[in-house]
């Protein structure tokens, strides 16, 4: 008996050792969450050329010879040469190109949104303090920190990210609207429709006219914007490779010609230039402020006899973009923004109501439940992530994919969502600097937080403002999800109270203001010509 056990033990030992060895190979994830099936829109939205753009422009600006002039006829010698090139490329297909075709065939706007959220997460890390206790300020002139700036650029924190998502979405939408108008005007067929011997590789035969290429438009407008938002060498190279793939994949797949693509690229660049003009002058350059300006925020509150926010970091860090509240808005004018943002003042810190709210924060953090911690962490979207606006883009993605929306409609919906969230950020940051309210941990240093304590004033909650605005817009776009969006916004809002970094009034105030901001985006959505 003993021998049998002993022998079997030896066998078992060898077997388990082998098993451990086998399971020990290269690790990977089966799904990284970027998987997208082939995009097959339920509606092609071929009238989208009439939709209202964000940037003022007319089609005649783009029909000039240097951008998208009338294309050569499909019977022309030049076009036949292009057809020959398409055939050659289709014949030259390889696995790398097949992978690229499958990737971009999931939807260009969806892909770029994923890429942007990835780059936001990559760059969303606060600068390290200098030896003397000051902090370097990221500089777009020295993105790789090669010239002594002391930190890389950007620090894609929530306000930065909200702006990035908004501008890229707007630029993509405006460019696609113009592309749709030009497609309709020129109505040139795709090469596989001209020459039936061309069989599309992986992709479906296009239902839209081919000239200019919408993929090249997206590639150009997005790349031009994003390389300025994420100018580090490695990021720009990454973006360039993605751009080149999207630009050419439909030629490799047999459904676009070189002139379709080159016209699309020129259009993308032209629309980029117009949107970028607004970007450069929207007030972001003054959002950081200076020591004197930061001090004046503190002084203004202290002169009122109130407690001013101060950084709880060591060394104390300047507030995150405290003058972002002055950046230009999308869906309302400045007066409307100021009015919305200062409509609900916070409690004075010497009131019993305030003390009760402070005690409530502490009660959530003293003995946190596992369920509450899960909520805190699910919605934290802090440093190193795609931020709360990124999270709401992720939520929107599921609905866009399920609804099988066309590229231009996807762009429009992201533009509505992301302009609303940028307005939410502007409004919330306006409120934060206006009241400059201390965080719970500043008022009671025994409050230990379950997520990172954001380095800017408490009132109102950014998560609440973002989430209410996003839920309002998404509920308009996807009424079937309204109940879920609202429940998620409520949970995102409460997560900040559970985490010990916000009072209830921050969350409630943020929800109300966020809803008002979202309503303004819905007003636009109701009048942009989209059915």
């Amino acid at each position: 008996m003993k021998n049998i056990i002993t022998k079997n033990l030896q066998l078992a030992f060898v077997a388990i050792t082998i098993l451990v060895g086998v399971t020990a190979c290269e690790k990977y994830l089966d799904h990284d969450g970027t998987e997208l099936g082939a995009l097959a829109p339920t509606k092609i939205d071929d009238t989208a050329g009439a939709w209202k753009t964000y940037t003022s422009m007319s089609l005649s600006e783009f029909t000039v010879p240097s951008i998208v002039p009338a294309p050569a006829a499909v019977t022309s010698a030049q076009y036949l040469q292009e057809i020959a090139e398409v055939k050659a490329e289709v014949a030259n297909i390889n696995d790398e190109r097949r992978d690229a075709i499958r990737y971009w065939n999931g939807g260009g706007i969806l892909r770029w949104n994923q890429i942007m959220r990835e780059l936001v997460a990559k760059n969303n890390l606060p600068p390290v303090e200098n030896a003397n206790g000051t902090y370097p300020i990221p500089s777009s002139a020295d993105p790789d920190n090669l010239n002594g700036t002391g930190t890389s650029f950007p620090f894609s924190n929530p306000p930065y990210a909200a702006r990035a998502y908004a501008y890229v979405s707007v630029a993509q939408y405006d460019a696609l609207v113009e592309a749709m108008a030009l497609k309709k005007q020129y109505n040139r067929k795709a090469p596989n429709a001209v020459d039936a011997t061309i069989t599309p590789v992986i992709v479906a035969a296009p239902k839209l006219a081919s000239y200019p290429s919408e993929d090249a438009v997206m590639a150009a407008v997005t790349y031009e914007f994003m390389k300025r938002l994420f100018p580090q060498k490695a990021d720009t190279l990454y973006l360039y490779k993605k751009k080149e793939q999207q630009k050419w994949f439909k030629l490799w797949a047999g459904v676009s010609t070189r002139s379709d693509i080159e016209a699309g690229e020129r259009l993308g660049k032209a629309v980029f230039a117009k949107v970028f003009a607004r970007f450069r002058t929207d007030g972001m350059a003054n959002a950081v402020g200076t020591q004197a300006k930061w001090d004046s925020l503190t002084k203004r509150i202290e002169e009122k006899g109130e407690v001013a926010w101060k950084s709880m970091e060591n060394a104390p860090r300047p507030p995150m973009l405290p003058f972002y509240g002055n950046v230009g808005t999308w869906n309302m004018d400045r007066n409307a923004l100021t009015s919305i943002s200062t409509s609900i003042p916070p409690l004075a810190t010497n009131t019993s109501e305030f003390k009760a709210q402070l005690a409530e924060v502490k009660s959530y953090t003293d003995n946190p439940t596992r369920e509450n911690i899960a909520i805190v962490h699910y919605w934290a979207d802090g440093a190193g992530t795609h931020t709360p606006p990124g999270h709401w883009n992720q939520i929107a993605e599921q609905y866009i994919v399920t609804a099988k929306q066309s590229e231009v409609r996807t762009a429009r919906n992201y533009a509505l969502l992301n302009t609303a969230m940028m307005d939410a950020a502007i409004s919330c940051w306006h409120t934060k600097s206006y009241y400059y309210y201390p965080r719970p941990s500043q008022m009671d240093n025994s409050i230990k937080t379950l997520t990172g304590l954001p380095n800017f004033p408490s009132y109102t909650s950014g998560h609440s403002t973002f989430s209410a605005a996003a839920a309002t817009v998404l509920s308009y776009l996807f009424p079937e999800g309204a109940t879920s969006f609202q429940a998620q916004a409520d949970e995102a809002s409460k997560s900040r109270l559970y985490g010990g970094i916000h009072y209830k009034m921050d969350c409630e105030g943020g929800m109300k203001i966020g809803k008002a901001v979202g309503d303004k985006a819905v007003l636009r959505a109701q009048s942009d010509g989209v059915q």
Partner: protein
């Protein structure tokens, strides 16, 4: 008996991480058939400097991270050369500065079997396999204050135990640990790229090390050396928090001192200390522990010839531990 303790928790950046690892799991000692050794360990691990990737730094917003653990451990002799072992720590963390909340709770149950594959005159060749499983849904994705990694593990280990004259002994051990991926509370994170999922991949780990010094039934004083290498190449990014899938590497030296107290029926007291000398994505931690262990012989019909308690020197009757309750070695 064994020492249960020891470098139990690997001082990972948060330390957290840790597999609580009883010393017996990596040494050459076996409990005699029918004997159970049980014990309790208190462990304290702290650091105020760490390696962010390979960059050595401090962080005034966390100050000193202290991890304390109380671990229960058991080791039962199915035969003189085949033991089963189990351990379960309760872990508590805190940061001395900043506002981040500490964590506490029961961590992972580790179980293993250990088998003496071969025995020459002075050399034991030992194999061990085992695994660990989280005992509850504690928060893992909160380094460096999480109490553990939430990963299920499976490990295989080899141990060489070489006894020398004058009660000296040399032990070498190596372990390969396969770790399951982990589900976290969030659905987006960035490590080597962006992931839009709540699943994190956990690279496997290799641990090896050794110890040398005096080892006898009554006394133990040994110097220890340990090395951990985590597969993959994911470092903490500049000024980021650590992630579960990071490359947690370290080199650590320390000591073990133990004594069985005759007046307390050979209750064993074990002290250990260790210090991380160099690392990557881990704290430069200082670790100490104290353990109390006791063994019980469950056999009804013992004869004076069979070993009782720990078999400290296989094949050497003078060092096999007490032969009976009445004939303890002095």
């Amino acid at each position: 008996m064994k020492k249960l303790s020891k470098y139990s928790l690997l001082a990972i950046l948060l330390l957290t991480t840790l597999f609580a690892k009883a010393q017996t799991m990596t040494d050459g000692i076996f409990m005699a058939k029918g004997n159970l050794c049980g014990g309790v360990t208190y462990m304290n691990d702290s650091w105020n400097k760490y390696w962010e990737g390979t960059l050595y730094r401090e962080n005034k917003n966390i100050g000193t991270i202290t991890t304390q653990a109380v671990m229960l451990m058991g080791n039962y002799g199915i035969s003189d050369r085949f033991n089963v072992l189990a351990s379960l720590p309760y872990v508590s963390t805190k940061a001395s500065a900043g506002v981040l909340h500490g964590m506490n709770g029961f961590q992972d149950l580790t179980m293993s079997v250990k088998y003496r594959l071969a025995q020459t005159k002075n050399l034991s060749v030992i194999g061990s396999v085992g695994g660990s499983i989280p005992t509850n849904n504690y928060v893992a994705d909160f380094l460096p204050l999480a109490i553990g990694m939430q990963s299920k593990t499976l490990f295989g280990r080899g141990v060489l135990y070489y006894t020398l004259p004058a009660d000296l002994a040399l032990t070498l051990h190596g372990t390969y640990t396969a770790r399951s991926n982990v589900k976290v509370d969030r659905t987006m994170y960035y490590s080597d790229k962006g992931y839009f999922t709540n699943e994190m991949m956990m690279p496997d780990m290799v641990n090896f090390g050794g110890k040398f010094g005096h080892y006898s039934y009554r006394w133990q004083l040994e110097a220890t050396y340990d090395q951990q290498i985590t597969q993959g190449n994911i470092d903490i990014r500049r000024n980021d928090m650590p992630g579960l899938c990071d490359k947690f590497d370290f080199t650590k030296v320390g000591f073990i001192a133990a004594y069985r107290v005759p007046q307390l029926k050979d209750l064993q007291i074990i002290l250990t200390g260790s210090k991380v000398l160099t690392g990557r994505n881990v704290g430069e931690s200082t670790n100490f522990s104290i353990s109390l262990t006791k063994y019980i012989d469950f056999r009804k019909n013992r004869t004076s010839e069979i070993p009782t308690g720990p078999i400290c020197r296989p094949g050497d009757k003078n060092h096999t531990g007490s032969m009976t309750e009445e004939h303890k070695e002095h």
